[in-house]
Amino acid sequence: MPRLSYRRALTRALADELARDDAVFLLGEDVQVGASMVTTGLAKRFGAERVRDTPLSEQAFTSFATGAALAGLRPVIEFQIPSLLFLVFEQIVNHAHKFPLMTGGQCSVPVTYLVPGSGSRTGWAGQHSDHPYSLFAHVGVVTVVPATPADAYGLLVTAIRHDDPVVVFAPAGAMDVRDDIDDLVPVPLGRGRIHRFGDDVTVVAIGHLVHDALAVAEELADQVSVEVFDPRTLYPFDIDGLSESVARTGRLVVFDDGNRSCGMAAEIITSVVERVRLLAPPRRVTRPDGAVLPFAPALDRAVQPGRDQLTTAIHLTMKDSS
């Protein structure tokens, strides 16, 4: 049972898919030397033709990938910072996503957009600390946010094999998580995972926050029985799995590193209340509305959803229903 880091799990997934399918290729900035420490060694093994360094022309290389996908390849783009997804939003949303319907089913666009280190990397400040996964769930691009090394491997592999565009967020807060992994296998899209069973409240935690949720659940173990649900894929979302959990616990708290308004937490809560009657009003712990992460570390932390806030939300939820 090898011990694998989340970062290395991503490297393994890329290597395995590059080896398995000649149609797969990787492009991005500084991927040959592996500045992100994710693509390390891949250029040496697979060559500069399939592991391509790009100029700083994000819009062009994103659409270049769309064109290559239309011609039958399976590009994987690595973006160095989450906000680069803002810069190529047009190319992903208005082109890659829309081609199959607009052409009446003549084509598919199997591109994977990988963002290693999404969310806050302490000290990278306002323009480098976004966690914009909810934007892609809104436009309907498949969006995954793995929390563990096994899921990072399994979901990245699945994303690369998927026939539509997929955005893979690898949260900075999860990149150094290590895990004992028996077997590395593909993980299906749209299937959540219960990391911890509980009877009183279901906490839905996204990405790196899964680990914080598990820590809080342990802390509270003698007072509240907390179930921790990790959706893994945000779009499509495993509402059946979650509904089953909430039907048992009767209570829901969502722990989401995205902005509050129109974020995943709102989607999750709405999808649940459409189906399940709760014993207490649902709660969400998120970034504030319109969050911009300030540079100073204490402020950066203050803007991110924290364990204390989750603990409070769980206690309040229990109180509301007693």
Binding site: P55, A60, G67, A71, L101, T103
Partner: protein, 323 residues
Amino acid sequence: MTEADPVRLYRTVRLIRRFEERAVELVHGGQIVGGIHPYLGQEGIAAGVCAALGADDVLAGTHRGHGHVLARGADPNRMLAELCGRTTGLNAGRGGSMHAADLSIGVLGANAIVGASGAIITGAVWARRRQGHDTVGVSFFGDGAVNEGMLLEAFNLAALWRVPVLFVCENNGYATTMPVAGAVAGSIAGRAAAFDIPAVEVDGQDPEAVRVAASAAVGRMRAGGGPELIEARTYRFDAHHTFEHAVRLDYRAPDEVTRGRARDPVRIQGERLCDTDRAAVDAEVEATLDAAVRFALASPEPDPADALTYLYASGLTARAGGG
């Protein structure tokens, strides 16, 4: 280097001309909803460029895209059916005028976003060559597109990676109502030079001149050359978009329009045929288009229940919007 074939070239420009005139009628008649950007006056460019291409080549067009699709050899029946939103259309009625595509003949599609096609075609050509095809690509765009950063980035990628893409700038003097002089600092050819992309200027109103320039460029690209740019000087005979037929926008002087329309690519190419040949082509084109109109209007409209078919190639089904 493709052979000169005046009749074939005339047939193409004549087909596009009459197709567009019929399409405008169908817009006014309400059978084509949403209007179109007529290619009238620019037929020589699509015709001349596509005459220089081979079966393995690919192209991507613009919002003013009917000519590119037809010149590449798409079925006029299915093209017109697409504009009418019918299931028999090239895109099964899902794309319409601005997205008409036929991937089976290398038409990656018209594109409603100015400047977007350059990078897409660059990626497609690079991919096909990696797969062993001797593919070159064509990216059509207007004079307005050379101010879009995404297109200039594509110039850089294509030149850097020596991807054989022929960038064809259809300079009709205006981006909607904005004259080139008010929008382009420097020159269009200069935009190519900035990336070491060779550029030539050609009379877009002479289909044969366009074909000669294009097949020379395609020849150099097949011989291992990188991307090239052709600036085709042309003039838009009609409105930017058919909505202008209802709302008069005041930006082109009447005498300028008269002068512009005087150099007619269909007439210019037609004069290279003897009267009998020309009359034969004209009759053939009318018959083709009569059939196309009949085909399009007789074709079924899609069932609203199928509105989201094709949304996901993976077969993922989207959650409905109802309560």
